[in-house]
Amino acid sequence: MSSGAASRRRLRVVRGRSRPRGGSRRSNTAPRPFGGWITPWLYLAPALVVLGGLLAYPVYQLGLISLFHFTQAQVSGGEPTTFKGFGNYAELFADDQFWQVLLATLLFAAACVVSTLAVGCALAVLLTRVRAVPRLALMLAGLGAWATPAVTGSTVWLFLFDADFGPVNRVLGLGDHAWTYGRYSAFFLVLLEVVWCSFPFVMVTVYAGIRAVPAEVLEAAALDGASQWRIWRSVLAPMLRPILVVVTIQSVIWDFKIFTQIYVMTGGGGIAGQNLVLNVYAYQKAFASSQYSLGAAIGVVMLLILLSVTLVYLRLLRRQGEEL
């Protein structure tokens, strides 16, 4: 029976091979219902239409708005728009507050990324060392924190640290210390919330990565007398490097763009704007004070910073020899 099936299959292979295929240089026997080159573009068409219309075009518009004088009067059609060139950028760069917000954004994002990665990786390693019940408990708690929407996470953490009704001040004996009044304690509180809701992504991904490393490799290393540290450094770390790069880059992107947590937890940027980050600053400029063109210019600055991160990422990928 099996030999019959095999010979039928072989026959089909032969028949398949003998059919002439025009123009295709690919080695496989893929059919070409629409002709070779057009198929990938048909698959890509929906994505390109959506991305072109709702991402690329708005980015272009953002750049355009940043070059014009564009406030409430122009939006309502009361005054004509006038071209300002780089005037908005000049205004922005002359403003001390912009540089303060930029510095705060970079430091805050860096603190969030480092804390998230440290906690996430440490707990991922911990997950590999424990039996099923503690592992499931930590995994479910992490998924719960991950699943919590940013708005609700923000309000819940405010409630936990509330000066009058929160349990944290009672446990720490801080009386009615108001966390959101001080600049650094407010940033610290937001940092805690951000780490809480974003470490699970790192933990689960790195844990899945460690699990994907074949057990034989680790056993062989142990049999060869390698210490735990040596196994981590020489076997696990190199195999995990791609995944570590991915979670680092994702964290950088997410933490640099934080909006909801800052907006909700510090009431739109803290007292006198002491807790502003670029995203919230742009929003405030555009929608609270109707300076759309300044808001757009800040958006362009953010875009350029994140683009430079992308370039670093691409270089890392290339150095690893990964084919795109």
């Binding site: 990938p40 890509l44 991402l55 424990v130 503690p134 408990a137 929407p149 409630f159 909006f259």
Partner: protein, 278 residues
């Protein structure tokens, strides 16, 4: 690896894991507890980690708020539409960039990567004008369409690994057995990358469900078209928050995501693991 860990260390590790789990879960516990506490108890300056008189008052207040149920349905409609649309579109696109060699392929991949970096909050300004010109302000489309676009780049980038992991030989075998390209795509490739689709869906679901900036900016005059985060912020006023209402609304808003997560939990972990092997 477990075999190489000595016993006292393992017990210490397990105790640490359980302790961390408790700390991580505590905010969620506090949220649910706050939702069930009677008003007087919430406003006590000696908060207790339990309550002897649970009440549904806060939930009644939340659901008694104008059209809260409507907000909830709107949120679900927007999130489900975005998840399904972006999964299908990303699947096709990821297949195109992994299964075909064509000019511009690398350029496109880099463009998808760059697209992930776009700070979407900054696009609120141009998107507002675009939605206005399309006549879509105050409709759910003004939330669905931008979120599909923002979910796509990451979904394509992540799915790429899953599509790549399906051996070429399988594709050849399918064609040899007489399958059409469409049949291979939907009946063979699609089920195989489903764990990857689940993992990417988690991300698009969360980012859509989370959004309150677009709801706040694009749904301005017809409040019945708004979503849950807006309803939540009705109770949260920085000067005088109604904590019971905030915690009840937060609980209602978090439960669907939790259910979704628990449903996909296994596939999520194996899915992220699959991305690693890439």
């Amino acid at each position: 690896m477990r075999r190489f860990v000595r016993r006292p260390w393992r017990l210490a590790a397990e105790a640490t894991a359980l302790l961390v789990a408790v700390v991580v879960a505590f905010p969620l516990y506090w949220m649910v507890l706050g939702a069930f506490k009677p008003a007087g108890e919430i406003e006590s300056d000696r908060p207790r980690p339990w309550t002897l008189t649970p009440t549904l008052d806060s939930f009644r207040r939340v659901f008694g708020q104008q059209e809260f149920g409507r907000y909830f349905v709107n949120s679900v409609v927007v999130a489900v539409a975005v998840v399904i649309a972006s999964a299908l579109i990303a699947f096709l696109a990821a297949t195109a960039v992994t299964r075909f060699r064509f000019r511009m392929r690398t350029t496109l991949l880099i463009m998808f990567l760059v697209a992930q970096m776009v700070p979407v909050e900054a696009l609120t300004i141009p998107l507002f004008f675009l939605m206005r010109d399309l006549g879509q302000l105050n409709t759910l489309w003004s939330l669905i369409l931008p979120h599909i676009a923002f979910s796509l780049p990451f979904a394509i980038w992540m799915l790429r690994g899953f599509v790549k992991a399906v051996p070429e030989a399988l594709e050849e075998a399918a064609y040899i057995d007489g399958a059409s390209r469409a049949r291979f795509l939907w009946q063979i490739l699609f089920p195989l990358v489903l764990p990857g689709l689940v993992a990417t869906s988690v991300f698009s679901f969360i980012s859509t469900w989370n959004d309150f900036l677009f709801a706040k900016s694009f749904i301005i005059s017809d409040i019945s078209q708004s979503t849950l985060p807006m309803a939540l912020l009705v109770f949260y006023k920085p000067d005088e928050p109604d904590w019971g209402g905030v915690m009840a609304a937060s609980t209602v808003m978090t439960i669907p995501v939790l259910v979704f997560f628990v449903l996909v939990q296994r596939r999520l972990v194996s899915g992220l693991g699959g991305a690693v092997k890439d």
